[in-house]
């Protein structure tokens, strides 16, 4: 088995002839803390050579609206993970403050903001789609969305495109 021309392989790597893996990530929430998991998972999948499609529906449309993408917020009410009493979380300015603190923390760690994450995903070849029905509900048109969005799909289109993919719902 030894070749004199090329390095000899000891550990057999995983078969590269395997079909490409596919994931479909459904983003249904529009808060900052629920936007990042989908965006980061999508990017990590592309980094690993996995095909990625992302479907933004309902509140998830907040993530891909030109006006909103850079201004997502961290919820302080009804969010036990904030570890502050719900009544305090409802005070004016609390949400803005929590959002500012989180944004600052992320900047320190050099985590890209949401618009940059969307650009990274598009450059990485992830396919980004908006849900047509949710768009109608919120009276949005494609012009309201960031340019990285490839198209507007119905749920049926989504399942056609997601055939064979592992589906992640967020």
């Amino acid at each position: 088995m030894q070749s004199t021309a090329t390095p000899v392989l000891h550990a057999a790597p995983r078969a590269d002839a395997e079909p490409t893996r596919k994931v479909a990530i459904i983003c249904s929430k529009g808060t900052l803390d629920m936007a990042y998991p989908g965006l980061i998972l999508g990017n990590a999948a592309r980094m690993s050579g996995i095909d990625v499609m992302m479907f933004f529906t309902f509140w998830g449309l907040e993530i891909i609206q030109k006006k909103r993408a850079a201004a997502l917020r961290v919820p302080t009410v009804g969010n036990p993970s904030m570890h502050i009493p719900t009544m305090l979380g409802g005070l004016p300015g609390m949400e803005a403050m929590a959002t500012k603190m989180m944004a600052r923390g992320m900047k320190k760690l050099d985590i890209p903001d949401v618009p940059e994450m969307l650009q990274i995903l598009a450059d990485a070849g992830a396919k980004l789609y908006a849900c047509g029905m949710a768009m109608d509900m919120f009276k949005l048109t494609k012009d309201d969305l960031v340019p990285q969005i490839e198209g507007v799909l119905t749920a049926i289109d989504f399942f056609d495109k997601a055939e064979g993919a592992q589906i992640i719902f967020i």
Partner: protein
Amino acid sequence: MVSEAVATPMPTRDVDGFLCDSAQWTPALAEALAREVGMTLTPEHWQVLTFCREDFARQGVSPGVRRVAQLSGIDMKALYRLFPKGPGKLAAKLAGIPKPKSCL
């Protein structure tokens, strides 16, 4: 870039195919690893691999794709064109450095 005539034993690799010791990497090895995944390395690939190795030597950790795109002179789109099977893992693997820990 390769001296085909020299026989090099393949150093030990982990279960994902990454070299266990990055010091055992050679350019010939990168070419061999690339062939394993059906790739032929171009000067652009080498620009990425050289950056990855230098950055790993400086920082002690493998760079993530975003860092490579920002600093290597090869942008994000080009990285995915050069390494269609995933620049995150593949560039590090061919450069003989550990699997990147960064998700970006």
